[in-house]
Symmetry: C2
Subunit: 246 residues, 2 copies
Amino acid sequence: MFEISQKLPRPVVYRLPQYLTHVRELRQDGLEWISSHKLADDLGLTSSTVRQDLSKLHMHGVSKRGYRIVQLEKALSDVLGAGRVHNAVIVGAGYLGTALALHGGLAEQGFKICGIFDSDPELMGAAVGSLRVQSMETLDYVVGTKCKAEIGIIAVPASSAQSVADLLIDAGVRGLLNLAYTRILVPPGVALMDARIIANLQQLAYVIRNRNGKPAVSSTGKSSGNRKKHPASNNLPGGIKRDIKI
Amino acid sequence: MFEISQKLPRPVVYRLPQYLTHVRELRQDGLEWISSHKLADDLGLTSSTVRQDLSKLHMHGVSKRGYRIVQLEKALSDVLGAGRVHNAVIVGAGYLGTALALHGGLAEQGFKICGIFDSDPELMGAAVGSLRVQSMETLDYVVGTKCKAEIGIIAVPASSAQSVADLLIDAGVRGLLNLAYTRILVPPGVALMDARIIANLQQLAYVIRNRNGKPAVSSTGKSSGNRKKHPASNNLPGGIKRDIKI
DNA sequence: TTTGAATTGTTAAAAATTTAACGTTAAATA
DNA sequence: TATTTAACGTTAAATTTTTAACAATTCAAA
């Protein structure tokens, strides 16, 4: 089992899932080798960044070929814990919580939803896929004992997000995914990720309103074909990708 | 009308929605002034960062008081285009697309969903709130003419995300929110934000697995109360917030 | 076998971002 | 009114992250 000696810098962790999905595709396409240049091109990075990142994972390429794709996939998969199953619970059986519980993608990537909870008595026992909505009182037992969930997904309104987070932490989850449009605070030792869907839309609105480039579609017709690669696009945490500075 | 002379650095844009939501809460709490120190504390930043950021928005505080909250809210609201209505369409009437269409938070923040589309004939005409699922053939007309949507939300499986993006761009949207677990390419002039829900979970799994802190909950009891502020927590794009380096 | 070219791994430079420092300003108080 | 002090605005330092550069290496082909 390889140990990543140094904790990875945040931007690297951010890029890992991108590498993983892309490398998977490459493998499915039957490719065997990929160079840092090609990978960088495909992902909108520089080859330098790719090499730096992969070297942090102790990946070694070979001159004139690049990196072995299966090996890359294995390393990325390992470090991200893909392959393992991660138990998670969802709090909030509204539209979003339900959608996530039913979303095939999560299960596909090894995130097993083993419980969905809500405080609304109306929803108690309602079927969500193979699960049933449970009361908040059972959260503790389910997270701590029954399915030992490491991850809690918060899909409640902003106003109750913090208290739900507290309950999840007390129940024993080690990481939270926050889908509510509010900041929540966690003690050290608990990891938190904000999904920021609404914030993303707001940032998008800012970028759209303040761009200085030309519209993508000319007034005379379709734009298909001017796509296909955007090498200069800077692809950073925050997720805004444009050729020009924002 | 104020003009932000310089385009804002990406990390600043990332923080703007955080400022906005927090400042709104403060105003609702009846506060009138907020200092950079308090704001930084509440948001897990340094006061220096806050002052730098706000100065980029041409906000001026006053000594011994801080920043006027209503003014702050106005500036943030303006720059993020809150207050304005942004028309958006959703492609993909699966769980996630439907959930977003029905999600109150979007409308609340001024994002008006004016169409939801799917290629599945089974879904045609199905009701989603006050909307009905439309065929992809009508996308062009709706986006371009009927509701002049600036934003396209991609809620389809990864395999068709790119082609949907192309259609949306051709139809004339200026920004995309990608909820699919895949990278999509856009031409210059179109803004792209990735929602990365699954990637976030993967990053969470990495952080959980590689943390070196103590578990949040001691074996002897509940942990409530060791929360409440986490000043050292570094809060960066990528969204992982922990006291220790990852 | 030698040459040539592509690609790595790594070092160092550059750029971006965050943080600290501190003189200046404005309010509160004596 | 003078003094004190909290807080700003800004300059500069520190840190982090990205990019460039290049010697070393490996394969392919002449």
